[in-house]
């Protein structure tokens, strides 16, 4: 058996792999569905219907996709520079804490000032959360995978501490939750900003965080492909030694990417707390930081791809939730499909780059 590199990957192939991987992962889900004793095709239909069956469920999916776009972008940009930021989950909570710290009454003003202020506070807190591991990497050579991962646990405990201390809502009857974000600091619901004929139901929770996420994706795409900064990121990621030789400040670039990546993950927290939940609790994120890694890989680290991959992952979560309620199958099925998608896209990437040739033993006629 020989493994040979193919000449190169066509653009079309590059786009096809994640789509195939997504379908393979969904198809593989038939096994756990069968194990759980659910009728397979009705279960798939229930999943599909749970997302595309109504305008409401569709907007729920978009609401779920919003934080995933942010954390997906956070992972994609960092991975592009080969900076392994696995700490988006923690940075998300830092961002949420930053938003709550300034947005619950510390300062007050018109929405046009308060919203940017809350977003800046959250982005800053998130950036600080990744700057730490990046400095430990560039100054001391400490592996950022381990440090950013361990920080997730430290930050979550820190959030608990803050919610029992300075950030605690005195009116919460003992529940560990923060005070609510002020109305004029909250990201408005889309039903409040769009003309009323588009917004059919007022129960819809979809909020303007989605717009911010989409803008972030477009800006990231342009920055990555059209600016010198983007060029530096790609150069550092492809070959740090060569980039250093070419006079690119590798450490500076890494620290910069760390800040942007952390800030994006922080914005995921801002969007969840100021757009959706209204206050901070320790169960704000069901692992959006980790799912963001899957989103980024499915997207092939392309920012626009992140948007599409986030929609897919959010659909799996919302669809599986609905199927799980209807058929009594554990909603861990969603996590299973998402993790299988990651593994499938990795394997798919291999077969796009290499072909396996089966040859006879040396010396035997072939």
């Amino acid at each position: 058996m020989m493994i040979e590199p193919r000449g190169g990957i066509s653009k079309r192939m590059q786009m096809a792999i994640p789509v195939i991987a997504a379908f393979v992962a969904l198809a593989l889900a038939a096994l756990p569905l069968a194990f759980a004793g659910a009728p397979i095709f009705p279960a798939y239909w229930e999943m599909f219907n749970g997302v595309f069956g109504s305008m409401f469920s569709f907007t729920e999916m978009l609401t779920r996709a919003t934080p995933l776009i942010f954390t997906g972008l956070a992972a994609a940009l960092a991975f592009k520079a080969r900076l392994w930021n696995i700490g988006a989950e923690g940075q998300l909570y830092l961002g949420a804490m930053g938003a709550v710290a300034v947005g619950t009454g510390l300062v007050d003003g018109p929405a046009i000032l308060m919203i940017p202020l809350v977003m800046l506070a959250g982005a800053g807190a998130g950036a600080a959360g990744m700057l730490g591991p990046a400095i430990l990497k560039t100054r001391f050579g400490a592996d950022e995978v381990v440090t950013s991962l361990l920080l997730n646990f430290i930050i979550l405990i820190f959030v608990q501490m803050m919610l029992e201390g300075p950030l605690k809502d005195p009116m919460s009857m003992g529940w560990p939750q923060s005070e609510p974000i002020l109305d004029n600091a909250a990201l408005p619901r889309l039903s409040d900003v769009l003309p009323s004929q588009i917004t059919i139901m007022d129960r819809m929770r979809i909020h303007s965080g989605l717009i911010v996420a989409l803008i972030a994706a477009v800006v990231a795409q342009i920055a990555l492909s059209k600016t010198t900064w983007g060029f530096k990121i790609r150069a550092v990621g492809e070959n740090a030694a060569a980039a250093r030789h070419a006079g690119i400040g590798v450490n500076r670039t890494l620290l910069g990417v760390a800040c942007i990546s952390g800030a994006l993950a922080g914005l995921a927290g801002v969007s969840e707390v100021a757009g959706l939940k209204g206050y901070l609790t320790t169960d704000l994120s069901p692992g959006y930081g980790y799912s963001g890694i899957v989103v980024a890989m499915l997207a092939g680290l392309s920012p626009i791809g992140v948007v599409i991959a986030a929609l897919y992952v959010a659909s799996v979560f919302v669809g599986a939730d609905s199927m799980s309620r209807a058929m009594g199958v554990s909603s861990f099925l969603a996590d299973l499909v998402v993790s299988l998608s990651l593994i499938s896209v990795l394997v798919g990437g291999f077969f796009a780059r290499y072909r396996i040739r089966f040859t006879g033993k040396a010396g035997s006629p072939s």
Partner: protein
């Protein structure tokens, strides 16, 4: 001050230290074996969960405890095989593949647990390993209770330190595993299979990791909870660097960690009124990062760690 001294003089502190260290000993040994062969295994956190769930479930279904231990190891080896296939013959990114294994293993274990036991509100219990009283030895003052009033799995962990040390340093297989992590071309030139050595090391290492998880549900506790691994796997990845990939130092690192954790729990009862309890909960993770920063510059990574090797490529 006297109170602090009291903590160290109390034998229950040392019993707790060794108990807390046990899953980490398994985990660090497992990670060490994978990395010595050149493969970083970030699947460790998920493999812990698999070991915890499979070991517990096997015993819950009626099998004897040691069959549960074997089943856990087998489950770990299976996920190790998947990681090995992705990273060794396919040569995919060890970072991303490992994280994928962690997500996949965690969700598989959680899905299976929920599907087999859909309606349990409080986690069911098994009859877990009990501390064994060894006649005579347990009566040795101090050392007796600390070492011999542990469960059989702690002993197994200590034995595995010796086994892994012996295999790596004293057998031809160990020499080959080290070589494949340092210079796979040389191994290939000698006519040995780089693929087989790496895949085997990753599977064996993953089986050890799973035992760390099994200890949690079958010895430290007697039930399976979601989120019970709680970063222990990641701590092992930090400890293996701290231990410079040596089994003896791995034992030392895990023990120091166990002592620190046992100490902070006792300090918490002394100083809990003044310092928020969360400070103590954070301490183990902070300690791991600090330890990593101190040794990072001097760390001599296996030279071919993270580097894929393809047959027939130069």
């Amino acid at each position: 001050m006297m109170d602090l001294l009291q903590i160290f003089l109390n034998e229950s502190f040392w019993v707790a230290s060794l108990r807390i260290a046990t899953p980490l000993i398994f985990g660090v040994l497992g990670a060490l074996l994978c990395e010595r062969a050149g493969v970083l295994n970030l699947g460790i956190e998920g493999i812990f969960v698999v070991g915890a769930m499979v070991g517990w479930m096997t015993v819950y279904a009626g099998a004897p405890l040691w069959i549960g231990v074997l089943a856990a190891a087998g489950g770990g080896a299976l996920f190790g095989l998947l990681h090995a296939i992705l990273t060794v013959p396919l040569g995919l990114s060890q970072h991303v593949s490992g994280l994928g294994i962690t997500l996949f293993a965690t969700s598989t274990a959680s899905f299976l647990y929920r599907t087999i036991l859909p309606d349990v509100s409080s986690p069911p219990r098994i009859k877990a390993f009990q501390p064994m009283d060894v006649p005579i030895l347990s009566d040795i003052p101090f050392l007796g209770p600390v070492v011999f009033q542990q469960t059989a799995m702690t002993w197994l962990a200590l034995i595995m330190v010796g086994v892994v040390w012996w295999v790596i340093n004293r057998t031809p297989l160990g020499v080959a595993i080290q070589a494949v992590g340092d210079n796979p071309d040389a191994v290939n030139a000698q006519g040995l299979s780089v693929y087989k050595l790496r895949i085997g090391a990753v599977m064996a290492g993953s089986a050890l990791m799973a035992l760390g998880g099994a200890f949690l549900t079958m010895s430290a506790f007697d039930a399976f909870f979601f989120g019970m691994v709680n970063g222990r796997g990641w701590i092992c990845i930090a400890l293996v660097i701290f231990a410079s990939w040596r089994p003896g130092k791995a034992l030392l690192g895990a023990l120091l960690f166990g002592m620190f954790d046992a100490f902070q729990v006792r300090l918490q009862t002394e100083a809990g009124a003044v310092i928020p309890s969360q400070i103590f909960l954070m301490a183990p993770y902070v300690l791991s990062i600090v330890a990593l920063v101190f040794v990072a510059r001097k760390a001599e990574y296996p030279r071919a760690l993270l580097q894929p090797w393809f047959k027939g490529h130069r």
